[in-house]
Symmetry: C2
Subunit: 272 residues, 2 copies
């Protein structure tokens, strides 16, 4: 296990300089590494796969909640192909998947070929990894990256617009931003609506019904520096939370942090 | 008929200064006037109403073709209510509708209450009226408005991404823009992706497979001034054309130029 972990660490290092197709090929060969920092400059995507009978509700939920659920592509039923990476196979090219039955997590495989069927529709959803790169490029520190932690995520008291069987609260990420750089952080992310866009809230967490920033609902606590202000963005966990609460008979998602690496440069999703 | 036309002209004049709710109330009372120029500063929307069984294909077509089909809202099946104007009733509040059966136009009523059912889903789609106002505000002349004509629309040789039973060519509007203002026109409309966004093509119409600008496929010919360049934007006729080609058993749309007037200020759809 320790050997495997070291091998994975070396693999991750090698993939940091790899092209998207190389990362996907390594995943296809079984590399089950988190994708943060891999193939830098290329968009990574959240994956949700559902039976066709649930696809309309999910598509409508996305249309009604574009900040937490920015859809980058939706496949034809049964097809493992996406325009975001024409050579990729969605059944094999993510590092790790989660399999859900009746809303319960039942498995975390590295390949879902055996589970695939002509009835499944895959949704690829924008991810805040894209705007973290843009924040860093603009000189805004990203504390979770500095501290080597997963970003802090919180359920809020804001309800999403419901769609058929899907409803739930808005889930947000929180990043502490130096007060003098909040304007920059807003402007940079506002130009990226397809990867969650501008913050939904800046400042007191009570405004979103969040009791304690030190106790996130998902991810890790992240420490603020003196002068930092908490800034909250819509989060891609929102649709997964709504989906699992409504308990579809079958679903596949990516495993947290183990995203689909696309061929689309992040710049495509930056407005002028 | 001449009296009716004069009355309609007077009505249109009065409504030019009206609030959105007043325009919708007049429509509810039978005013069957085109909505161009009414309730200025408020977003107008295209309407497509389909049986639930066709709604997924249409929603997917919109997701895959956001420039010609920018969805502003989708109703719950059976509901005539939209978040774009909470007090409105989509069955009565447009000035004129079109009713389609098996892809054929069968009626043009001013009220569709009798045709409504719990099975229908309404799609509200952004309209270039919003960006024409923004162009004028930025000093870009809009020749079709100057000439009192409908905008010129053309089928192109570019295919939309198909979705289930829906496929078809991209349809565009063309506006002649003075060469020195093309940059302004691109920048202004690029900031409004929910009302068709930036041009898809500038210059030679052959680049889109258009043979003759004097012979539009829909709308009126519009005369260019010396020094004008043809500028092409994705057009909301695209989804209607795809839909009618695929012949759903039943559909309702707005009548051309007779849009749904929302309570949403145009500024909401302008990015910073």
């Amino acid at each position: 296990m320790a050997v495997a972990a070291r091998t994975m660490g070396g693999m991750a290092q090698m993939l940091t300089e790899a092209a998207p197709a190389d990362v996907r090929a390594a995943c296809r060969d079984g590399a089950a590494v988190p994708t943060s920092g891999l193939a830098p400059g290329y968009t990574q995507a959240n994956l949700v796969v559902l039976p066709r009978e649930w696809a309309y509700d999910f598509l409508l939920f996305a249309q009604r909640n574009p900040q937490p659920v920015p859809l980058l592509d939706v496949t034809d039923a049964g097809s493992p192909r996406t325009v975001l990476a024409p050579d990729a196979d969605l059944r094999t090219d993510l590092p790790r998947y989660r399999v859900w039955r009746d809303g319960e997590l039942t498995d975390e495989p590295t390949d879902v070929t055996d589970l695939w069927s002509g009835d499944l529709v895959a949704f690829l959803i924008g991810c805040s990894f894209s705007f973290e790169t843009a924040l860093l490029d603009a000189g805004v520190p990203v504390r979770n990256i500095e501290q080597g932690r997963n970003v802090s995520m919180f359920r809020t008291d804001r309800a999403c617009r419901s769609a058929g069987r899907l409803s739930g609260p808005l889930v947000v990420t929180m990043r502490p931003v130096p007060g003098e750089l909040v304007t920059t952080a807003v402007q940079v992310t506002a130009r990226m609506p397809q990867v969650h866009g501008a913050p939904v809230h800046v400042g007191p967490p009570e405004g979103l019904g969040i009791a304690d920033l030190a106790r996130p609902d998902f991810g890790d606590p992240v420490e603020a520096h003196a002068g930092d202000v908490p800034v909250f963005w819509a989060c891609g966990v929102t649709p997964q939370a709504a989906l699992m609460a409504s308990r579809p008979p079958f679903a596949i998602t990516h495993a947290p942090g183990h995203m689909f690496v696309t061929d689309v440069p992040d710049s495509v999703y930056r407005l002028p």
